[in-house]
């Protein structure tokens, strides 16, 4: 460590410590309602962002491997978070201490600042915003849960943040005793008697309403204390969602030299992995006639299902057209070939060519960014397919491991020359809720030659590309063969290895050599975030 560096560190430290606002950071958990107004160095800016990103990635990977809310999930999450540079999150306690120590103050400040930096990086598109909000919410839920049943601290925390919830009076609760018991998950009237219930407008308990886990009357939701976190999360989510939308609209107007924006955009790409939106077609253009063969060889089960449904019914409903159409775009099917493909199939059925042009052609062009606001729609990731847009009556889309009855799925797998033992393994993963792991096993058992994948699956187009690589011995791919860092299946390391093999930006962050320590004013960020 040379002298200069020490000096910089010291100066940086003193800057952060310099001014302590006694009103701020009283609790370890925060709502991030007000942007920070401090000065930090450009280096810290990048460092904080990366550290928080690692935290969010850890949250995401644990969420994929374990069912959220279970003991295993919390244990794994705690372990992963302790491995990051922000491990103070895990010893989170909402309780307000009389005197916040300097370390605690600085930790919380870092928490605050890093969150706002990532807002800048992740506000730019719908997909990014959704991802960011989802991880921040899971993180918040975890941290809030650490307060346990300490209702005094919780009340204090809520009051400080202007969230006032008072329980309903006993007589009201008595009148609604049976209704409340019937609508609260696994709870009896005894539980109702001893638990506080809060009456809030249904718009503040959206998640509980969505899953019908709450009693509603005349527009109000009656929420038991143990579900209070859901309400608070709802508030958290809507504030964050609104702020991100505002930030994203303000971003183009930012008077910025080129310090922040390039770094922010590379940040979001780097850790989110490929979204398969701007793929150059794989060597040898994909044409409509190739699809039948490709579907048998290299499509994941969800896309095979959609393809078979299409061939059988000569039709596909909207949800399926989106999921399948965008996937085909991602594998390299051009707009002309796509038109040919869909038209050929639809006109075999009840759609005459005129009707096809009027009703369906527009949608296909829209997917390719040739209509409307000309957005370049990205093919759906596994997360999106599993979690949103569930199939309804007449639909063949979705994730087969998630959206198929177990016996039917088992039957189908065995009909595809998957042995009984292999099917059992796949069904085990399905039972545990690990749909992407199940799909990866299917990959392992169905590809020829059989290989054991060393990567984690999170996108149907990724499945396709990996399969092509296996089937063609890696020769047709214009990129060098994948050289994974390690054989383990942890998300973060394999993500970066997949990216490295595809020649994109490096996975680790290195501060640039010879850069100046500029004092970056946070006012720039405040100006954007504060614009209401």
């Amino acid at each position: 460590m040379d002298f200069n560096k020490n000096n910089k560190k010291e100066r940086a430290k003193s800057k952060v410590n310099g001014r302590r606002d006694s009103d701020r950071y009283q609790h370890n958990l925060q709502f991030y309602s007000v942007p920070p107004t401090d000065n930090i160095s450009l280096q810290d800016f990048e460092e904080y962002a990366v550290e928080r990103l690692k935290v969010l990635k850890a949250v995401e990977s644990v969420g994929v491997k374990f069912v959220k809310g279970t003991k295993d999930y919390y244990e794994a999450l705690e372990k992963e978070l302790k491995n990051t540079a922000m491990k103070f999150i895990t010893k989170s306690v909402i309780k307000k201490e009389k005197d916040t120590t300097d370390t605690e103050y600085n930790d919380r400040k870092k928490d605050h600042i890093s969150h706002f930096i990532l807002r800048l990086a992740y506000c730019r598109s719908e997909e990014l915003r959704r991802w960011f909000i989802a991880q921040e919410m899971d993180l918040f839920r975890y941290r809030f849960g650490l307060a346990g049943n300490d209702s005094n601290s919780i009340k204090d925390f809520l009051d400080t943040n202007n969230l006032n919830y008072t329980p309903i009076p006993d007589e009201e609760k008595e009148n609604l005793r049976t209704e409340l018991a019937d609508s609260t998950y696994e709870k009896t009237t005894t539980f109702v008697e001893v638990t506080d219930y809060f009456k809030v407008p249904f718009t503040e308990a959206v998640d509980l309403v969505r899953s019908r886990k709450v009693y509603l009357s005349k527009g109000y939701a009656y929420v038991p204390r143990n579900e209070l976190v859901s309400i608070i999360l709802g508030v958290f989510r809507s504030n964050l969602s609104h702020s991100l939308a505002v930030t994203s609209r303000a971003l183009p107007h930012l008077e910025e030299d080129d310090r922040l924006l390039p770094m922010l955009s590379s940040l979001s790409k780097r850790y989110l992995g490929q979204d398969y939106s701007n793929r150059k077609p794989t060597a040898g253009q994909i044409t409509a006639d190739m699809i039948d063969l490709l579907s048998k060889e290299s499509f994941p089960l969800c896309m095979q299902q959609l393809h078979q449904g299409l061939r059988q019914n000569h039709h596909m409903k909207h949800g399926g057209r989106m999921q399948y159409g965008l996937f085909l775009k991602g594998i390299g099917l051009s707009l002309e070939e796509a038109m040919k493909f869909w038209r050929q199939e639809f006109t075999k059925g009840q759609t005459d060519p005129d009707k096809f042009d009027k009703q369906y052609a527009y949608g296909i062009r829209h997917n390719y960014g040739k209509e409307g606001k000309r957005a370049n729609y990205t093919p759906y990731s596994c997360m999106k397919i599993i979690m949103s847009n569930a199939p309804g009556q007449g639909d063949t889309h979705g994730c087969p491991f998630r959206h198929t009855d177990a016996d039917l799925l088992r039957q189908r797998l065995q009909a595809m020359a998957i042995s009984k033992e292999e099917t059992d393994q796949i069904m085990d993963s399905v039972k545990g809720g690990h749909y992407q792991v199940a799909c990866l096993k299917y990959f392992q058992f169905s590809q020829k030659p059989k290989i054991e994948p060393t990567w984690a699956l999170n996108h149907p187009n990724q499945y396709f590309e990996e399969s092509r690589r296996v089937r063609t011995g890696g020769h047709t791919s214009s990129q060098p063969k994948a050289t994974p860092h390690s054989a383990s299946l942890t998300q973060s390391s394999t993500q970066s290895s997949t990216q490295q093999s595809q020649g994109s930006t490096q996975a680790t962050v290195q501060p640039e050599d010879g850069f100046d320590e500029l004092s970056l004013s946070m006012e720039e960020m405040v100006a954007m975030d504060g614009m209401q």
């Binding site: 019908r212 199939p391 009556q393 007449g394 087969p400 959206h403 009855d405």
Partner: protein
């Protein structure tokens, strides 16, 4: 030539000029972002273009017809009624009489059930008051929730409301689409069950004969999770064709009831089998995507359906049993009724002549709905003038 009664628009909305409409012209030419400065402007445009379908969209930050002059990010949908769309096609797996775009008196009761359940739920659970139910002209119904609070809902809240009202879930690969967990049934579903129970015997057993042959019987039994219970039932039934749906259904209900006291194992898995079957066969099936978007466009009431000629008339939810989609006036019928009246060519008089045609009743429903809505603003205007006076 297609015409539409557009009176209500100027009456019901304060922000008419920023409302998006879309026209579907001959040859399926679709024009979005239509907006008008007043009722006359709109009438003129409609007469000029002769759209054969008019959709209503959201109220935007700027006049939709000027949207190209505004920066994309600044032109946003701000408010729109919360809407629901129920389409008979979504019940194809549980109705035996028709499929696709066809409907008949045997399956229409599904719509009656849907209106009763959804109307009550929207009022009782969500506190909404201003609901306009409209027949879509062919195979479905729409509901427009026009409360101020409803119009301001976020897409997230809209989809939550729609999902709260969704009980039948699952695609082609999921046979059992209703799963009630937890040994207690949510009060909203309990309320819906009451409606279903009053209609089920007549609709499912009589009209649909839903256990009438081997195929139909298999479908129903496929929804019972417990294998031994299924076996017992098959034994009860003997020769499937020889017994009626009524008998079989009664036997099924009895078996499940008996399991409560006689066979704990069966009961554990099938405690809600009867309810789940009834719900899968009758509970309303909404299209969540229609309700979710703030800028989703939906066909306007009083349009004429191009394939059936029927007018998309409002329905009275309190009198829904008496609504007959096959008696809904068609355009040609109305033209004839108007022609028969003969007399003056006075345009103004013509407009109010609808009272003498078959449109009288639906218009009454509509006017009642509007009157209630108007009262809410009158209340607000008084509030505002009070405040001004205090100042």
């Amino acid at each position: 030539m297609y015409c539409k009664d557009i009176m209500y628009i100027s009456v019901s909305k304060n922000y008419f000029t920023h409302r998006e409409f879309s026209f579907t012209l001959k040859d399926d030419i679709y024009l979005r972002y239509q907006s008008f400065s007043d009722q006359q402007d709109m009438e003129k445009e409609i007469q000029k273009r002769c759209p054969y379908k008019i959709d209503i969209g959201a109220v935007f930050t700027h006049r939709p017809k000027d949207h190209k002059t505004v920066k994309a990010a600044a032109f946003q949908a701000q408010e729109k009624e919360l809407v629901f769309d129920i389409d008979m096609t979504d019940y194809d797996d549980v109705r035996n009489c028709c499929s696709g775009a066809d409907i008949c008196p045997k399956c229409w009761p599904l719509m009656i059930i849907a209106v009763k359940i959804i109307d009550t739920a929207l009022r009782e659970d969500f506190g909404f008051e201003h609901l306009l139910w409209v027949y879509s002209g062919r195979r479905g119904i729409h509901c427009w929730v026009c409360d101020e609070q409803a119009r301001k809902l976020s897409p997230n809240a809209r989809s939550a409301v729609a999902e709260y009202l969704s009980v039948v879930k699952g695609g082609e690969n999921q046979t059992k689409k209703v799963n009630l967990y937890d040994h207690s049934i949510h009060p909203s579903i309990q309320r819906a069950m009451k409606v279903v129970k009053t209609c089920f015997q007549d609709y499912a057993v009589k009209k649909q004969d839903f256990m009438g042959d081997e195929e139909r019987l298999d479908k129903v039994l496929g929804l019972i999770p417990d294998e031994s219970l299924r076996k017992h039932l098959r034994e009860d039934y003997g020769e499937a064709d020889s017994e009626t749906s009524s008998f079989k259904w009664q036997a099924l209900k009895q078996r499940v009831e008996d399991a409560k006291t006689l066979n704990k194992q069966e009961w554990k898995k099938s405690w809600a089998a009867v309810e789940e079957i009834m719900l899968q066969y009758t509970y309303p099936r909404l299209d969540v995507n229609v309700s979710k978007g703030v800028n989703h466009l939906l066909k306007s009431p009083f349009c004429v359906h191009p394939k059936t000629g029927r007018v998309c008339v409002p329905m009275d939810p309190d009198n829904i049993e008496n609504f007959d989609p096959f008696q809904v006036p068609t355009l040609s019928q109305l033209c004839e009724e108007l022609n028969q009246m003969g007399g003056t060519e006075d345009e103004k008089k013509r407009l109010k002549d609808y009272k003498k045609t078959s449109l009288k009743e639906p218009m009454q429903v509509f006017e009642d709905f509007l009157q209630k809505l108007e009262k809410t603003w009158k209340g607000k205007k008084l509030e505002q003038s009070d405040m001004k006076r205090e100042f």
